[in-house]
Symmetry: C2
Subunit: 228 residues, 2 copies
DNA sequence: TCTGGTCCACTAGTATACCAGTAGAATAAT
DNA sequence: ATTATTCTACTGGTATACTAGTGGACCAGA
């Protein structure tokens, strides 16, 4: 499921970033644990330089905390940050939807409709990862069509906080068909230029995943969580 | 006006980032010009490492473009990016204002009111930089009170695109008292929990600076601008 | 047992060395 | 003169070496 091999043309820094991020999200690197640039470099078969650059990037979104001359550690689970990731995504998705209302290009419409067909294709499939990817791509397409790719990247870099708790909760009812219908409804609203409806749909779409903090705290070591 | 000396406790990377960013915004490094890590390192009296890390960060927001094994250059003026900076700020400021409506702490209220008093103090001052700083601080405080500091940092890292064209236009009528009044009105709306009014105020406040692309293109070399 | 001080292993920050890859100049071939 | 080829100087990516600074282990003295 998780791609670990270094891809062609992928630079060491990108590779390190991808793997370390993945290890954090999947708790292979535990919240609060100290991480050594040297160890990481060794385990990734890289030198400290690209590893260090990756850690810098992760610390920018507080997924890693760097204490100069002391060490670095994986950030604790901080619901304020999970919430901020959600906040950021909601704010941007709403703004993008509003922007696209009535201004979506023919080409953009075609791409989004193509994507919806892919979602239909994957909806009944055993392995959910294809649908998952199409889902992500749908939202990415919206940002691309609105020419707000950097905002998308920023938002994406923060979602790791969200992904981590989602992975911990694991069983969050993945309702694919509901998601697909939301996507279709959103696209329809955008095409009609119905700002209000688009806004409502985004709001609803992004409020499904309710990650109960209390439940999670009961399932995992208290040391995983920030004191708030 | 521009602080160039390296501050105490400031790491080489932070220093490099601050200076390079400033040089780009103030056109000391021209749009489209090629920059050499070695030259920058020499001029900042640093090695390539911290300079390189700063450039990585700048390239994340497309202020610098890195072409592996070929070179790096200062990004051309791209109105799509200026617009994205504006978009990002507007989306986030609106969301923060909405969030704070009715949930601003006593402490937060005190801080913002203190800041408003500072703005009053600096409003008639010859040198505009004090007011400018207080203005920025006001918005920063809003994000702090909403506990959305990372979003603020992200937004801030993109404003360089905006700052650069603003600096080029130079004479954009800085109307301090109008800005101050907007701030006061926004705070009032937040304190009253008047979401609608807060939203309107933010919208108006952020739409003053109209940077006419055509005018700017007539004042500066065509080579400064991206083809769009 | 406690206190204060020395030392030591380790850290991140920085400097430097080396590499592969690029583009353009210089050269050679036609 | 034109094209093909080699060379060269430079780039960013990576590896490695060095430094200052940190905190804990250890120890001496009470």
């Amino acid at each position: 499921m998780i791609q670990t091999a270094r891809e062609i043309r992928e630079t060491g820094r990108q590779y390190a970033l991808r793997i370390i991020r993945s290890r954090i999200v999947h708790l292979k690197l535990e919240p609060g644990s100290w991480i050594s640039e040297n160890e990481l470099a060794a385990s990734l078969d890289l030198s400290r330089t690209p590893v260090r650059e990756a850690l810098q990037e992760l610390s920018a979104v507080r997924l890693v905390e760097i204490y100069p001359q002391r060490g670095s550690r994986v950030s604790l689970i901080d619901y304020a940050l999970v919430e901020e990731a959600r906040f950021l995504r909601l704010a941007l998705e709403r703004a993008v939807a509003e922007l696209l209302c009535g201004s979506l290009s023919e080409e953009g419409r075609r791409r989004l409709e193509d994507n919806l067909r892919h979602q239909d294709l994957y909806i009944a499939q055993e392995d959910p990862s294809d649908f998952f990817q199409a889902d992500n791509e749908f939202h990415h397409l919206l940002f691309q069509e609105a020419r707000k790719e950097i905002s998308y990247d920023m938002m994406n870099s923060m979602t790791a906080h969200f992904d981590r708790v989602r992975h911990m909760a694991a069983k969050t009812g993945e309702n694919r068909s509901r998601n697909r219908d939301d996507h279709a409804e959103l696209l329809e609203a955008i095409l009609c230029g119905d700002t209000k409806k688009a806004d409502r749909t985004v709001l609803r779409h992004l409020s499904y995943v309710q990650l109960d903090e209390k439940e999670l705290r009961s399932l995992y070591p208290p040391a995983y969580f920030a004191k708030t």
